[in-house]
Structures are given as structure tokens and as C-alpha cells.
Amino acid sequence: MAGTGSAGRMERLFWGVGSAIVVLYALIPVAWLLSLSLKPGADLGDRRFVPQAVSLEHYVAVFDDPQFPAALWNSAGIAGISTVAAVLLGMFAAYAIVRLQFPGRNLMLAAALSVAMFPPVSIIGPLFNLWRTLGLYDTWAGLILPYMTFTLPLAIWTLAAFFREIPWDLERAARVDGATPLQAFVHVIVPLAAPGVFTAAILVFMFAWNDFLFAISLTSTSDARTVPAAIAFFTGSSLFELPTGAIAAASVVVTVPVIIVVLLFQRRIVAGLTAGAVKG
């Protein structure tokens, strides 16, 4: 950072206060959910930001109800498989785009870009109809297919951006030194490519974990209903009252992994998000 040596105390204070405000901005809704989830049922209507008493009753309730654990399992499985599939297919395509000369290179990138801009709501009708005919409605595969497809552009662009930075000549150098093609690939290229692949996987997983539109359009029961859909359709003891405490507790449970991932991989996520969009 140039120019910081001469930065005065006022300037430092200014940016320090700015940082504090940004952190507060980002965390207030999360803190609010945590507060709601810990309030005893009777205190839910006290309209205070900070709970006056703490209780774990909503967490117990949310795990007692079979809906939520089933949704957690569905979400983890569906998002996990979609991630592996999208990153694998994305790797093949990104490798071809970066390393090989072929006439369809730009067409490939343009196709990925158009899928990235595509409105999912435009195809939920046909998918709903097709999936019912093919027996994919309300199954894991029925959600994995659209998630994999809609995250492919993200995977291809991120991976291509990372692959472009790999010094591929090292592979040839290893070959000259007597390594077999497989050895050269496994010992030289894989370690260099792994961070990029991992970053793409995080971003793809976040997308699949977050989706709501496909989740409510293509599922109907806890066989394949994911967390966002389950949270939006939580039913409490009364049909007419939103089970605030249970929703807050479930929300906290699914937000904790996000916070852990963000804490551990902050640099990678930032690099991945900006890789495709900022270059040049």
C-alpha cells in the first residue's frame, strides 16, 4: 500500500471507523437471527434486539421435527454431488479453453456466459412437466441436473481464470527430467491447479446450497426438499402463525457452516469471485 506511510492519524481513524461500520452492517441480521433463536418462546414478542433470557428450546424443537434434519441431509447431498459434477465438467472445459487451440473456444465462453445470464424461472415449467414424465420430480437427480448446469458457467470461468495462471511449462520440464506424463501431471500440475479447483468448488457449493426457485418448483416432499425450501415452508404447531423461533434456530444452524467456510477461505473466495470479472 503506497502512501500509507504519510497517512495521518485522522485518516487512519476514518478508515478504522469505516471498517467497524462495514462489519456491523454485515453481521446485524445474523446477530438478530441468533438472538431470536435463543429467546424463550414467551419472549419472542419483546421486540428487543438482545435476548433477556436464553433458552435452547427452539434448537431442540427444530431437530425433533423430522422435516429439518431431512432437509439438511438433502441439501448437503444435492449440493455436494452438484459441486463435484460441475467442477469435474468445468475442469475439462476450462482445460480445453486454456490449453488447446480450437475454433469453438470463444463460442464455449459465450455459451457459458449466456447460461449465466439465463433466467431460471423461464424453464421451471418445462422442467416441472419433463421431470414428472421422466420420474425425476421430487428426487435428488431432479435438482442436481439444474444445479450442475447453472453452476457450470461459474465453474468454467473461475477455473479458466486460475488455469491461465499456471506455469504449464513446468510439466514439460518435469518430462525432460524423466517423469512420465502421468507423474508430471500428478506431481506438478495437480498441486498447482488444486487451489483454483477448490475455490471453484466453494463458489459452486454456495450457489447450490442457496437455491430456492428450483427447490420449491421441482420437489414436494422431504424426499428431496432442501433447506431453503424447508425454512420457507416451516409449519409450526399452528397453521396460521409463523414458527419464528424454529425458523430462526434452523437459520442459525445453516448459517454457521457458511461463516466457518468464509473464515477459513476468505482469500480464496475473494480471488474466485473477482477472477472472472475483473481481469483486463
Binding site: M1, G16, S122, G125, F128, N210, S251, V262, Q266, V278
Partner: protein, 291 residues
């Protein structure tokens, strides 16, 4: 063409094939199917009455005030949130760029709204503005039900959207800020340019490509808004955006013909927005790939 070339082409196509096939099967084919379905009267509750009606569904949608209102709602949410996000995103990007202490903490914190599930974020704001559970009214000493009135409901929807997506904008802009040469800024400072002049005369012009790409992606994203509105109002109080109209027609009312016409119209809107940005504002998305 040498043998090596054709072998390389074949390998390249082989590697791209799975991705291309997936994208064609899950987006292009259903889109064409949507186009086909939109020409029929086709209600899944009365599947036997399926009948070719030409452009009749489009006439029905385009002559319904609901469609135009939802298009207005979507435009309002899109313009309202993207405009604020650009300004707020710039401020956050500058803070992340300049902050010396706790830089890591700030970057980690802003990734939380980005990573959090949209439905969860919307629930949090819904509870916050709720007249019985919410802290907002308690804090402001108000009694109103924010989500029960059209304009305040829009305010909450736009606020939720801004909170969730500004970090993405800020991170893209931060990426652009790091490309602005510090030497240039220092030279301008020596020449007597103040902070405002440096920002508008040097930083902004240099960042134009990054800003346009960020705006394009955020505009398209905001135009497709669904989760936030579904959780906050379910489209009540006249806040329905086009995606909610599409969802309700297709999935709730099972009217595939009419719903497909809505789907195709939404697709055309997205196409128009992308074309406007790319042709109108001259965003060159391919250039970045050839360097």
C-alpha cells in the same frame, strides 16, 4: 490442417462436450419447449383440453395490467437496489482497500451476506420489521406493519436485496481498485488534485470496464429476483415481480401455456437488458478472455 491440429481439435471438443451437452439439455431444450408450450392452451388440471392457440397467450399476458404492474415492480426493485449498491459498494470497496487495521476481518465479514442463504437473509429482515417480533419498530418507536403497505414493503424488499448483494458488488469493485496505479494517484496529488477530483478524473474512468461488468451482472440478477419477495410478501400488496408471476402461473396454478408465455417474455427482457449493456454501453466481454 495438420494431423496435430485436428487431433487437438478433437480432444478439445471431447473435453467440452459434457459441459455443452448439459447446458443444451437443461437450458436450451427446455427454453425451446417453453416457446412451444406458450403457443398452446395447456392447463395441467385439464390436460385433455390442450389446444393450439397461436399467439393468444401472449395477447392475454400483454393485455393484463398484472403483467405490466409486475414489470414495473421488477424495474423498481432492480433500479432501486442496483443504484444504491453501486454507491454503497464503492464505499465498502474503498474501506476494504484503504483500511490498514482489521482488513482481513472486514473482508471476511462482507462475505457473510454473500454466502448466507437468501431465504434466511429475507427471514431475518422479515422478523426484524415484523410489528410483533421485530426490533426495528421498537428501536424507532413506530407501530406500523411495514410489509402490509405497498411502498414500505418495497423499501424492505430493496433493503434486503441491497444487504445481501452489495458485498458482491464491493468485491468486484475492490478488484478494480487494485488495478488503479498508485503512482498515478500520487502524481495527481502532487499536481494539486484533491480526493474528489482524483476519484472522478482518475479512478472512475480507469474502473469503467469493471463497473460495467458488475452492473450488468447485478442488473440481470436483480431482474430475476424471486426468493426475497417470496419470503417477505409472497407478492402481496402489489409487490409481485415478474418471476413470482411466472412461478404462480406455472407451479401454483399449473397453467403451462400461459405460464410459458410469461417465461418467454421474461427471457426476452433479460436478453434486452444484456443487449442494452453489451451494445449500448460497449461492454466487451470477450476481450478479457483473449489476453
Amino acid at each position: 490442417m495438420s494431423f496435430r491440429d485436428s487431433a487437438e481439435h478433437r480432444l478439445a471438443w471431447l473435453l467440452c462436450a459434457p459441459a455443452v451437452i448439459a447446458m443444451l439439455l437443461v437450458t436450451a431444450y427446455p427454453m425451446l419447449y417453453s416457446l412451444w408450450l406458450s403457443l398452446f392452451r395447456y392447463d395441467l388440471r385439464f390436460p385433455d383440453e390442450r389446444q393450439f392457440v397461436g399467439l393468444h397467450n401472449y395477447i392475454t399476458v400483454l393485455s393484463a395490467p398484472t403483467w405490466w404492474q409486475s414489470l414495473f415492480n421488477t424495474a423498481l426493485i432492480t433500479v432501486g437496489s442496483v443504484a444504491v449498491e453501486l454507491v454503497l459498494g464503492f464505499i465498502i470497496a474503498l474501506v476494504m482497500h484503504r483500511a490498514l487495521v482489521g482488513r482481513r476481518t472486514v473482508r471476511t465479514a462482507v462475505l457473510v451476506p454473500y454466502g448466507i442463504i437468501t431465504v434466511v437473509a429475507a427471514m431475518s429482515w422479515r422478523f426484524a420489521f415484523d410489528p410483533t417480533t421485530g426490533f426495528v419498530n421498537g428501536l424507532l418507536g413506530l407501530e406500523g406493519a411495514w410489509l402490509a403497505d405497498r411502498w414500505t414493503a418495497f423499501a424492505v424488499i430493496i433493503l434486503t436485496e441491497i444487504w445481501k448483494t452489495t458485498p458482491f458488488m464491493a468485491l468486484l469493485l475492490l478488484g478494480g481498485l487494485t488495478l488503479v496505479p498508485e503512482d498515478l494517484l500520487r502524481a495527481a496529488r502532487v499536481d494539486g488534485a484533491n480526493a474528489v477530483q482524483r476519484f472522478f478524473r482518475i479512478v472512475l474512468p480507469l474502473m469503467r470496464p469493471v463497473i460495467m461488468v458488475a452492473l450488468l451482472f447485478r442488473t440481470l440478477d436483480a431482474f430475476r429476483i424471486f426468493d426475497t419477495v417470496f419470503v417477505l410478501t409472497r407478492g402481496a400488496q402489489g409487490t409481485e415481480p415478474v418471476s413470482v408471476i411466472g412461478y404462480n402461473t406455472l407451479i401454483t396454478r399449473l397453467n403451462l401455456g400461459l405460464g410459458s408465455a410469461v417465461s418467454v417474455l421474461i427471457f426476452l427482457c433479460v436478453l434486452a437488458i444484456a443487449a442494452l449493456y453489451i451494445k449500448g454501453f460497449g461492454i466487451d466481454l470477450s476481450r478479457r478472455e483473449d489476453d
